[in-house]
């Protein structure tokens, strides 16, 4: 038997993983904890562990996994949290650089959103009492345990619990420079559910979230030299989006020499979704707007690729940022927020 804990990448979700494993061990017997965001990853980890019973921990779960859970009528837990707290935890505890933390949390937000309103979901948040949360998880998975057992599990896990870190995370967030906070809020802020009509606000992916096309491990924080053969100059930010129709507006800066060139812009996941062309004509900024759609089964992050289409002797470009807006058809039904309205 597999028990699923879907959750925003946070200490609270990990606490839920640990609680669910202990509940299952006491109620059902030996239980492994495995990670898996896709059907393939889950199968591979089951083969690797040989486990016939496991708790599957998913932090960026794909659409095909959701479809499989719903089709099978399975119950699962969705652990939500404030994305700002989650971002702080990743940056602090995993010592991740801020763009890496934003990339992870923004993807996690987009992926988890689709599970909030799915049949079989028990949505729990970090602001609830730990004992009540553990008892709710046990009931949801129909794990028959006494109150004493549940209390003992919660007590045993308390030292590594999530509550203590939340204050520190809040302090870390408040101490961020304004520009860094703006970058983080551009990518994860829309998932806070602050929009008055409940629809997703525009998402902004700042320059620091992109990578150099030639060196995909290096962030594109400065000008990119276009000299040389036609090639991919810019890629990223490898962040997941909720399924639906989207419009992306990519703004870039071009030097005088680069303005004479044409640049191909592709929106990709595991395949190309849409493309457009930027012809800057003059030095300065230029933008391109491209519409694309993500199916319900999506499980890959978005990669915006910018490529030169012919060799260049000189010139430089820089990305300003990308703004993504849900197309009207996708925004008809407001999505559930990851943070409850009273927060």
């Amino acid at each position: 038997m597999l028990l699923f804990v879907i959750g925003l990448q946070s200490a609270f979700a990990e606490w839920c993983d640990a609680v669910t494993v202990e509940l299952a061990r006491r109620a059902l017997g030996p239980t492994e904890l495995i990670r898996g965001d896709t059907l393939e990853q889950i199968a591979l980890n089951v083969i690797a562990t040989g486990a016939s019973q496991a708790v599957v921990s998913s932090r960026q779960p794909g659409g095909r996994l959701r479809a499989a859970l719903v089709e099978a009528g399975r119950s699962f837990v969705v652990a939500t949290d404030d994305p700002r707290i989650a971002c702080a935890e990743v940056a602090q505890e995993q010592q991740a650089k801020l763009p890496d933390a934003i990339q992870a949390i923004a993807s996690s937000c987009a992926a988890v959103m689709g599970y909030l309103s799915a049949p079989g979901a028990l949505v729990i948040s970090a602001d609830r009492d730990g004992l009540a949360t553990a008892a709710a998880i046990a009931r949801h998975f129909e794990l028959t345990l006494g109150e004493d057992d549940i209390a003992e599990i919660v007590r045993d896990l308390e030292p590594t619990g999530f509550a203590a870190g939340q204050d520190g995370a809040g302090h870390w967030w408040n101490s961020l420079p304004a520009a860094a906070r703006e970058m983080a809020l551009g990518a994860i802020g829309p998932y806070l559910g602050d929009a008055p009509d409940g629809h997703l606000l525009p998402i902004t992916w700042a320059r620091e979230l992109f990578f150099l096309g030639d060196q995909p491990n290096q962030r594109a924080t400065g000008p990119i030299d276009i000299t040389g053969r036609a090639r991919c100059l810019l890629c990223g930010p490898y962040i997941m989006l909720p399924p639906g129709a989207w419009s992306v507006s990519l703004t870039m800066l071009f030097s005088r020499e680069a303005a004479e060139h044409e640049f191909l812009v592709e929106i990709c996941t595991d395949r190309s979704l849409a493309s457009g062309t930027i012809r800057p004509q003059q030095e300065g900024s230029a933008a391109v707007a491209i519409d694309f759609a993500l199916g319900d089964s999506t499980e890959h992050p978005i990669n915006i690729r910018v490529s030169s289409v012919r060799a260049a002797f000189d010139g430089a470009i820089a990305v300003v940022g990308a703004t993504l807006v849900p197309a009207a058809s996708a925004a008809d039904a407001p999505p559930a927020a990851l943070v409850s309205a009273d927060e």
Partner: protein, 345 residues
């Protein structure tokens, strides 16, 4: 396997993937690992037995990396086709495709460290030994008499242990269908039992007419009517490696001097040749190509008339596929010394 697992205690779920209906089709089939996960999500059984008929590369890597234990079952490929034909009564072309698409995938598994390879001919002679071997391979302790009970249960009328049906089937099939079965499948039987794959022949019955995909190019085709694809198919996987394909075509006197294209395609064009028959007769178009891991819809051979004003008739014979072996040069010649220098070998 399922019965042995049941003997170990707990519920057992068995699933064969992909189902035959999917194997007959031309659409993409989701991977064995995805299906494994779906089955795990969909039930609470303690044991899961997956019969993988088109096991892919990702599964192979996972099993190899973890030295996971599994069973590879090899049979005369024509027996497999006979079983499917008897079970489904499907179009023989679909049956051949289903079996031929399994072979290149299955053959990648029997050399892996965790594999227990069972040959159906030996298992038919001594089924108890086969059951015992499976139990031992998976470390399943069996009670005295359990193996015999499983063998007796599975030897019921209609079960697999009935005599092989290939010879019987061959006698009942039309000659052209028999040639199609033998051409596409005998090479794999030789590979599974003798360790060598000499050639595979795709007869015309496996191909499609572009003007009517429901028909095979069994009659001469009028090439007049402008540049277009005339024949395509059969969308069958081949083992990875380099291959030569000999496409046999016949041309009427009127078709002489016009241009024809033959190409091999698998997700992308792999090889192509253009030629003009200089008179009536039978011609061989020889192509060489290389394939990676089996993927997509399989290999397609296409015959195209390129001349807009072509006239006459074309007859499609068959395609002979042979693995292309590349041997290491044993004698170091003067030219070999040059290689040594530039490649630093």
């Amino acid at each position: 396997m399922a019965r042995l697992a049941a003997g170990a205690g707990g519920e057992v779920v068995s699933r064969t993937w992909p189902p035959l209906t999917d194997m007959f089709g031309y659409q993409g089939i989701s991977s064995t690992l995805d299906e494994l996960a779906r089955v795990l999500i969909g039930n609470s059984a303690k044991h899961l037995v997956i019969g993988a008929r088109q096991p892919d590369e990702t599964l192979r890597k996972a099993l190899a990396e973890r030295t996971a234990r599994f069973v590879v079952v090899l049979d005369d490929t024509r027996n497999a086709a006979a079983d499917i034909l008897a079970e489904t009564g499907a179009d023989p072309k679909m049956v051949v495709r289903a079996v031929a698409n399994s072979c290149p995938l299955v053959m990648q598994y029997y050399g892996l460290p965790g594999a227990l390879t069972l040959h159906a001919d030996r298992a038919r002679i001594d089924p108890a030994a086969a059951v015992s071997a499976i139990a031992a391979h998976f470390g399943i302790a069996v009670e005295p008499g359990a193996v015999e009970a499983i063998v007796n249960e599975l030897a019921a009328p209609g079960a697999w242990a009935s005599p092989p049906g290939a010879e019987e089937l061959a006698a009942q099939l039309p000659a052209a269908t028999r040639k199609m079965f033998d051409g596409a499948l005998l090479g794999y039987r030789d590979l599974f039992f003798d360790g060598r794959l000499d050639q595979i022949i795709w007869t015309r019955d496996l191909f499609y007419l572009a003007v009517d995909a429901g028909r095979s190019p069994n009659e001469p085709i009028d090439v007049a009517g402008g540049s277009r694809i005339l024949i395509y198919g059969p969308y069958i996987q081949l083992p990875r490696g380099s291959w030569t394909a000999q496409i046999v075509l016949g041309f009427s006197p009127e078709a002489a001097g016009y241009t024809f294209v033959v190409d091999v395609y698998a997700d992308t064009q792999l090889a192509s040749t253009t030629f003009q028959p200089d008179g009536p007769g039978v011609y061989n178009a020889d192509l060489t190509f290389s394939l990676g891991e089996p993927s997509g819809k399989g290999v397609e051979v296409r015959v195209t008339v390129a001349s807009e004003d072509a006239r006459g008739q074309l007859a499609f014979g068959h395609v002979v596929l042979r693995p292309l072996s590349i041997r290491r040069a044993e004698m170091m010649t003067a030219a070999g010394n040059d290689f040594t220098l530039v490649l630093e070998i």
